[in-house]
Symmetry: C2
């Protein structure tokens, strides 16, 4: 097993080979997949917030980078690719309350456009080179270990500030709702995708429920027994208002179901935020890590 | 009015300003759109056949190039963009006999993936900068002036060979069917899109009928009174088997309908092929022209 990442991180299993580099570097991509039968592709240099500022940079690093990785994978004889796509951005503004995989795809951010194009390139390479591909359209991922200071990961930011007693900033009126999924459930989905014994797939991975930003803060207040001070700011154009994923296809094809509800997930993250509150921030894992 | 093209061409209106250059060149793109209120984006450096050979090149030149053009257009205060998308490739293999704009989009070529991503970037810039965008998903375009030697434009190739008495090569058994649309109808669609007074659109432009490759050759034989010698070769993975576009939305939103049927269109192309048969090939306009 080998991890390709732009930088090293704490807590890494020393038995796992590590290469410092980007998928956008052909040699690094080749070295990382040499001898591999499966590739898990998590690399991304942008988040929705930053992608619209410089779409050309998003395309250059992430689309071209992934094409490098795909060419390297074909060269190495890889037979399976599992890709972290984005259930929160590829659909755009939903036309129905619960979105399944046949919903139209009209992203309102460069991030979503690139993730969608990547799904299609991965499927194309899969068809051409007999590679089974599974693109996981993951909803809003959160969990212990997520950085709170990247502009990505609202729960990490909220829990950090709740523990520190700081005021949280909310884009809009807090009625925007999201489908939050705990990292341990997402890890299970990747494992299920690696074991998947069928046709290539594009599949939603989410909780199947939707919760408003205000409800997240109310739940944090209930768990901690302390109100979280809130400051409401103007909404952002690249945020969809609501998203909730139908996860029936994942159950039918991967035998996967979410297990950690938001209450339990928030409890775990708050506990972790508390335990790390007085440690240096290098302990935290970069949520935009390339792996 | 200004034309930006990678090279100059015969038959150009001398009253129209001409800039030799690519949209991938930021300065050329800026110069071309300076003072314009509308941009017609036809530039593409690849065709479906070549796009899968080097997807990274497709992405670099066409996606990044278009992003340059969009940035330049925003800077110039452009209020309207009409884009030549591809009805023959963005849908992939149709799941229904006649494809409307809500059909799933699963391209099987890099060309189609990039065209689809471009539609979405154009819509994104449109929303962010109050630009009306119309993406025309054009079916298989043919007509007088199309080059016969680019690997793109089966009718141009067939008519050229029919006139020259040469054998035509057919990928597959000739039962593959296409929705052929004459260039004069497509020009009408661009004019209608420039005049469109409503919301941004993604709209099919085709004949609304589908004709097999064998039928095209039979029709050419009927018009010329002479069989066209055929050679059947193995099919190509990047060709969909059938495509026929539903053009109802174009009628409702743009007031556009196709007027030239295939018989009349083939008659015109054969006449033109005959008239140019003894002239140097530089008289022919490159079908991949950037404009």
């Amino acid at each position: 097993m080998c991890v390709l990442d732009v930088r090293d991180f704490d807590g890494r299993d020393p038995a796992v080979k590590f290469i410092a580099g980007s998928v956008a570097d052909k040699d690094a991509a080749k070295a990382a997949v040499a001898g591999a039968d499966a590739v898990i592709h998590l690399a991304s240099s942008v988040v929705p917030k930053t992608s619209n500022d410089d779409p050309a940079c998003d395309v250059s690093s992430n689309l071209i980078g992934t094409l490098n990785l795909l060419e390297a994978s074909v060269g190495a004889g890889v037979t399976r690719i599992v890709f972290a796509s984005s259930g929160g951005t590829v659909y755009g503004e939903p036309t129905v309350p619960i979105v399944d995989e046949s919903h139209r795809t009209e992203p309102i951010s460069s991030y979503g456009i690139v993730k969608l194009a990547l799904e299609k390139y991965i499927a194309l390479y899969g068809r051409e080179h007999d590679i089974t591909s599974v693109s996981l359209r993951i909803s809003n991922l959160y969990g212990e270990g997520q950085r709170h200071d990247t502009g990505f990961g609202v729960i990490a930011s909220f829990c950090h500030k709740a523990v520190a007693g700081e005021t949280v900033d909310i884009w809009g009126d807090g009625t925007v709702s999201r489908d939050f999924i705990h990292v341990s459930d997402v890890v299970d989905a990747f494992v299920a995708a690696l074991d998947h014994d069928g046709d290539s797939l594009v599949v939603n991975i989410g909780s199947g429920t939707s919760v408003s930003i205000n409800t997240v803060l109310d739940t944090i207040a209930t768990i901690t027994g302390r109100e979280v001070p809130r400051r409401y700011l103007q909404g952002r154009a690249f945020d969809v208002r609501h998203i909730c994923l139908d996860v029936g296809l994942a159950a039918r094809t991967l035998g996967w179901k979410p297990r950690i509800d938001l209450n339990e997930g928030l409890r775990r993250v708050l506990e972790w935020s508390q335990s790390t509150a007085n440690r240096p921030s290098s302990r935290q894992i970069d949520s935009s890590t390339e792996t």
